[in-house]
């Protein structure tokens, strides 16, 4: 059975800190790994990663995938209170590339 595990489950940091969120996966016929940010209810798309070692970057957020060790990290530098949210990691496989298999998420709280 495909599995996605995120750590830590929750994290509290001060504004300005840098955080690293982890996502490991065990997926048969792995195809892609995605990161979403969930504030209140709607997850919003951050990154999709399909190739190892290529960093994707958007402002203060960046992410990279390691297909040999089966994990991905999401980095947030110079955190702001608006970064407080649940960060979800999801994997897809080649059999049903559309069905996102999510981890439980990491709840990040950035304090002033």
């Amino acid at each position: 059975e495909d599995k996605v595990v995120q750590s830590p489950l929750s994290l509290v940091v001060h504004e300005g800190d840098t955080v690293t969120l982890n996502c490991s996966y065990e997926v048969t016929n792995f195809r892609s790994l995605l990161w979403y940010k969930q504030e209140k209810k709607a997850p919003t798309f951050l990154f999709m990663l399909t190739s190892s070692g290529i960093e994707k970057k958007s402002g203060r957020l960046s992410s990279i995938l390691d297909k040999k060790e089966l994990f991905s990290i999401l980095n947030i530098t110079a955190t702001q209170t608006g970064d407080s949210a649940v960060y979800l990691c999801a994997a897809t496989n080649s059999n049903s590339g559309y069905a996102l298999n999510f981890g439980k998420g990491t709840s990040l709280l950035v304090t002033p």
């Binding site: 999801a90 897809t92 049903s96 559309y98 069905a99």
Partner: protein, 116 residues
């Protein structure tokens, strides 16, 4: 443009009742997905529509759950004889073409269903 919309935003019902949850995808998106998110968990896949047809309903937990998309746009998730365990946030997502995993799924705000 408008994103994915879902109605109602909250629904409270009694055990045994029937409920319908509606999803309006982004205009022009042919693929539509339903997920269910229980407290403290990530969303779980329920069903995927390509156009009007359910291409994959393997995530539906049992035959009390059914979904339709008659005109290839709006979708309705229907739950019969609701149980307390059905309480969750039901999320809908849409994507441009579906199928390929490079197609980004855009989520709606969800419907929080509470079964008393």
């Amino acid at each position: 443009g408008a994103g994915v919309s879902q109605t109602p935003s909250n629904k409270v019902t009694e055990k045994g009742k029937y409920v319908e949850l509606r999803c309006d995808p982004i205009s022009g998106h042919t693929a539509l997905y339903w997920y269910r998110q229980s407290l403290g968990q990530g969303p779980e896949f329920l069903i995927y529509f390509q156009g009007t047809g359910a291409a994959d309903d393997s995530g539906l937990p049992n035959d009390r759950f059914f979904a339709v998309r008659p005109e290839g746009s709006v979708s309705t998730l229907k739950i019969q004889r609701t149980e307390r365990g059905d309480s969750a946030v039901y999320l809908c997502a849409s994507s441009l073409t579906g199928g390929a995993s490079t197609d980004t799924q855009y989520f709606g705000p969800g419907t929080r269903l509470t079964v008393l």
